[in-house]
């Protein structure tokens, strides 16, 4: 795939602490093609969310963070951009959806005010009325009934599923090239989570948005992503097309992850060994060669 929308090469991250440098990412390389939906899957503490924060340019603001490696977004070297330039990318050309929609919306402003703020990032001269109209059409895109009523409401007056749809609509409002979804909908009920995920998938496919989908839930990843990267302790251990990875996982860590998921076909609770040395085996890349 030529000219990816995002590519990370040998991304390293450490935090300076009183006890010296703590390394969190040990050289992450990944790429997302245009219109591609890529998942980064791993357990808590594996480095998923910090990777997202670096791409958004948020960790660069932190004095204790030591970042090295290359980050190219839409052909531009992100590390060469000024703080202001990085800031102007956020919410316009790349945007993010967080785990808990209700707490990521501002409780003291009604939805339409927050929508207007997002839309004005692209068009400083947007009037109230134009903003309202845009917002209504965006909320219709995410199948929200009575968008006018929702726009007048506050986040706490809406259900979690409704807030999640509002978040999706807002994140896609400025037609970003890249959407980062960090554990979207984990805080929601399963049926609501399934609905909003399908909705988000259909919408990004229609708009051709590239997605970095961060999750610990293998089932959700399987239904959403085209390609998957598995991250363990700050290293990518295996990556490849979703179908290949799920039907033929090769890395010991990926195998353990898959074995640990309870199956609705039964079979009892798997016996999972303690974290083993084999989990640190070299990375397996399904695209370069498939080892026998």
């Amino acid at each position: 795939m030529s000219d990816p929308i995002l590519s990370l090469r040998d991304l390293k991250l450490g935090f300076k602490t009183y006890e010296g440098l703590v390394e969190v990412l040990h050289g992450i390389s990944l790429r997302i093609g245009r219109g591609e939906k890529v998942a980064l899957v791993g357990e808590s503490g594996s480095g998923k969310s910090v990777t997202a924060r670096i791409i958004l340019g948020l960790l660069q603001e932190l004095k204790s963070a030591r970042i090295s490696g290359e980050i190219h977004f839409d052909g531009a070297d992100l590390e060469k951009l000024s703080r202001r330039e990085r800031q102007s990318l956020r919410g316009t050309r790349m945007s993010m959806i967080f785990q808990d929609p209700t707490s990521s919306l501002n409780p003291v402003f009604p939805i339409h005010v927050q929508f207007h703020e997002v839309l004005r990032r692209m068009d400083r001269n947007l009037t109230q009325r134009q903003g309202m109209q845009r917002a209504i059409s965006l909320l219709t895109d995410v199948s929200i009934p009575e968008p006018e009523r929702v726009l007048q409401a506050y986040a706490f007056q809406l259900s979690g599923g409704m807030n999640q749809r509002v978040m999706i609509a807002m994140a896609l409002a400025n037609e970003p090239s890249l959407l980062i979804a960090d554990e979207p909908g984990t805080a929601l009920d399963v049926t609501v989570q399934a609905q909003t995920l399908h909705l988000m998938r259909d919408l990004v496919v229609r708009k051709g948005t590239s997605v970095l989908f961060i999750s610990h839930n293998l089932g959700v990843v399987r239904e959403f992503a085209d390609r998957v990267y598995v991250i363990y302790k700050g290293r990518i251990v295996e990556h490849g097309p979703t179908d290949t990875l799920f039907s033929k996982p090769l890395h010991p860590y990926t195998k353990a992850l898959m074995a640990a998921v309870p199956r609705i076909t039964g079979g009892g609770i798997p016996d999972i060994a303690e974290n083993s040395e084999a989990f640190l085996d070299p990375m397996i890349d399904h695209e370069v060669e498939v080892p026998a």
Binding site: E43, S44, D189, V190, T191, V192, Q193, A194, H216, N217, L218, G219, V220, R222, E223, F246, S247, A256, L257, M258, A259, A260, V261, P262, R263, I264, T265, G266, G267, G268, I269, P270, D271, I272, N275
Partner: protein
Amino acid sequence: MIEKTAELVPVLEARNISKTFKAATHEVRALDGVNLSVARGECLAIVGESGSGKTTLANMLLGIYPPTTGEMLLDGALLPARRSLPLRRAIQLVQQNPLSSLNPRRTIGASLRLALDVHDIGARQERKTRIAALLDEVGLPTEFASRYPSALSGGQRQRVAIARALACEPEILVLDEPTSALDVLVQARVLRLLDELRHRKALTYVFITHDLAVVRNIADRVAVFERGIMVEMADTETIFTNPGNAYTRSLIGAIPIITGEEEALRKTVLENKSVH
């Protein structure tokens, strides 16, 4: 699986219980006319989404508040609205988030000790060895007794919460989303521990969860709740192969799955809707 004869002696029974919460302007019927019984040694799963009444039911089983109407029985005897210490000891709770359910200022050992002291279990001198045995039972090293919850990982903390519940030597454990906050690898290990403990100590479980994939692998029977009403109750196999209720089917349809066999099962379940 439990013996057929065991089903004749319910250890815990709820007869037509309802719970209504009163607010200044309106009433909320959190649970409506629920009948269920749990047999000795069985694992009964209570499944539903938020607002279905799962936790209200758990709180009433534990005696935190009584039902508005209806009655509950333990070993055939009526449970009073205010329970005596031995009755409270018989039914213990493991919550979802051990970080908030364990006292952060108390060592693991002290938390376990408190349970023993309150219920006056075992001789005073031997409580220390009892604490070590409890930690060992849940697969933790005994030196963890001197540590604080903040020094433990999520999975280790949940093991401590299980040990604390076991300290009371209960007949019944109410497990309220015990593994929902854990990573998959850790979840598998904790579930395995719970399964082993039930068989080893002949415990009875009321397992509250929204995760049907977990239910399939640990429960004997399943009760499905939707907005305060028990819409379906059946043995686990039936729920997954031939669910009789549309809501149950939608729950099964929403489970994220990872294998082709699961996909096939889910498909048949969803297509079966014309049958009922």
